[in-house]
């Protein structure tokens, strides 16, 4: 299994899980289809589907494009409602919280997160990458998971940086207050990692880092020190081995 980042910021989110057979699960529909085509050598026949967390455009803005390309897209009915007033298509599959869905050889279970619109996180299972959590755009994650093998989790901002910006007058209090309850603070990210059993975890990827309010190097170092795992920052172009074990 490979984990590929096409984008992981408010300008567009998109990730691929690509198995050794080439079968691909797309996570989020926030980057142009051409970016996916480039990575998959313009062969879209092996795409099993695309799972979408919520209706904000940086996560679902390219949805019409993906649907037109014949990619089956999975989301909550609320997200569907918010997205596609005029769209009626065969290629949309609504998901219910805590029910499992078989997407090719991937199995996916959505769970509700804490964003300012309805937002799903996903527990993904594949024989190659094992249990993988995908958690983004949330104040916190209400859940812990059993037997995780890989973790994709938001580390959006740090209070220190936000507070400093606020004090120096470089931030808007309203924007800051919105961020505070709709994105994951770094301490909350670490709290999630502490609360879960990491004994089987192979990789931890920190995703959706805010451009101005995060510190990638510091976050990476602290999580590595905390967990002792391979830690990555999701940046465009990140393409890593993503298996159950490091071997």
């Amino acid at each position: 299994m490979r984990f590929i980042t096409l984008g992981s910021s408010s300008s567009g989110n998109g990730y691929l899980l690509k198995s050794t057979s080439g079968e691909t699960l797309i996570i989020e529909a926030g980057v142009k289809l051409i970016e996916i085509k480039k990575v998959l050598d313009f062969d879209l026949s092996n795409i099993s589907g695309c799972i979408i967390s919520h209706s904000h455009n940086d996560h679902s803005g390219r949805l019409p494009q993906y649907l037109n390309a014949g990619i089956r897209c999975y989301m909550s009915s609320k997200t569907g409602e918010e997205k596609m007033i005029d769209l009626v298509t065969d290629n949309i599959q609504f998901m219910f919280e805590k029910q499992s869905y078989q997407i090719g050889t991937f199995r996916v279970m959505p769970f509700d997160l804490k964003h300012d619109v309805r937002c799903f996180g996903f527990l993904i299972y594949h024989t190659e990458c094992g249990f993988t959590s995908f958690i983004t755009d949330t104040h916190y994650c209400p859940f812990v998971f059993k037997d995780l093998n890989n973790i994709l989790i938001e580390a959006n901002y740090s209070n220190d940086i936000v507070d400093k910006k606020l004090l120096s007058g470089n931030a808007n209090i309203f924007v800051r207050n919105r961020v505070l309850t709709s994105h994951m603070e770094f301490e909350t990210t670490k709290g999630f990692l502490k609360a879960n059993d990491l004994s089987k975890v192979n990789n931890i990827v920190l995703i959706h880092l805010s451009d101005g309010n995060s510190n990638a190097l510091l976050f990476k170092r602290e999580v590595r020190e905390l967990t002792g795992k391979s830690v990555y920052i999701a940046e465009k172009g990140l393409n890593i081995e993503f298996n159950k074990t490091g071997v």
Binding site: F94, Y125, T188, G191, F192
Partner: protein
């Protein structure tokens, strides 16, 4: 014989060390329990752990008038109380902000000059405390306004005027973040009278050799005391408390809601996606059919 004596002494001091360690630890545990329950609030910039650890080291060396270690002479309760007193005032013995003094079998905490200034800064909003000595031949004038506040209107001092034997008085200037400075003036007579209250009656080498420094200390202490005793505890509360309730609520939500429920996915079980779950959607009152947005047909 001598080795035996040595051993005894060693054992004794080890025993003392252990007693004190347990006292310091139990005080720390109590302080932590108090702060956790919000029974007490400590200044944000104060580390009770550091202060207690250093107090422990200092107490090991502290003796009473008969040169006996205070840890042997003083009661456990009085030691614990002295330490707790130190923590509640937010003082640190390493910074010479306080001293431990044994009276009989009671250990007491005495706030020192630096502690007085630290508290005036912390509680009394004092930004800086400056002491100035007035010598004979200085040109010194001050006025008292209607509300009784003093103001130094003139103080010209020539270098030649500085003479340890010609001290006329001293004054302290307390500067605040905002507002006029506060002035406290004492004559040398008043200062010497204050020294009479002390253990050495103003006859210590420090008082004899550096009366200017001691006079400044005396007048600064007097000025600061007023602001410590008349202060409220507002400095113990974070300034941001009111302002930043939003951040506080956000943090509380995380504490209450994060990482609570364990979920897992049964990878052996049959799954219900496809047409089947779409049927479910209809029964699950998602109002999509009404809106004509039902997909999948």
């Amino acid at each position: 014989m001598t080795t035996q004596k040595k051993d005894e002494k060693k054992e004794q001091s080890q025993a003392v060390a252990t007693i004190q360690k347990t006292i310091a630890d139990s005080v720390l545990a109590r302080v932590q329990q108090f702060t956790a329950n919000k029974d007490i609030r400590l200044p944000a910039d104060y580390s009770p752990e550091n202060a207690l650890k250093s107090a422990w080291l200092i107490l090991l060396e502290t003796v009473d008038r008969e040169k006996r270690p205070v840890l042997q002479v003083c009661t456990r309760e009085s030691i614990a109380n002295a330490l707790l007193n130190m923590v509640l005032q937010g003082l640190n013995p390493v910074k010479k902000q306080c001293d431990f003094i044994a009276y009989g079998d009671k250990l007491t905490l005495q706030r020192e000059y630096h502690g007085t200034i630290a508290l005036a800064k912390r509680y009394g909003n004092v930004k800086q405390a400056v002491g100035t000595v007035i010598y004979e031949d200085d040109e010194f004038e001050y006025s008292i306004d209607q509300s009784g506040y003093k103001k130094v209107t003139k103080h010209i001092q020539a270098l030649e005027n500085i003479d340890m034997n010609k001290i006329k008085g001293a004054y302290a200037t307390l500067l605040f973040e905002t507002g006029e400075p506060y002035i406290e003036i004492m004559t040398i007579l008043q200062i010497r009278q204050a020294w009479q209250q002390g253990a050495t009656k103003g006859a210590s080498p420090a008082h004899k050799n550096f009366p200017d420094q001691m006079a400044m200390k005396t007048v600064i202490s007097r000025a600061c005391k007023l602001f410590i005793s008349s202060s409220d505890d507002s400095s113990l509360f974070d300034e941001g408390d009111e302002k930043d309730s939003f951040a506080e609520t956000a943090r509380e939500k995380v504490a209450l809601g994060a990482n609570k429920e364990e979920i897992t996915m049964d990878i052996q079980a049959e799954v219900t996606n496809g047409k089947e779950s779409e049927v479910k959607e209809e029964t699950k009152t998602e109002d999509l059919s009404e809106l004509g947005k039902k997909p999948g047909f």
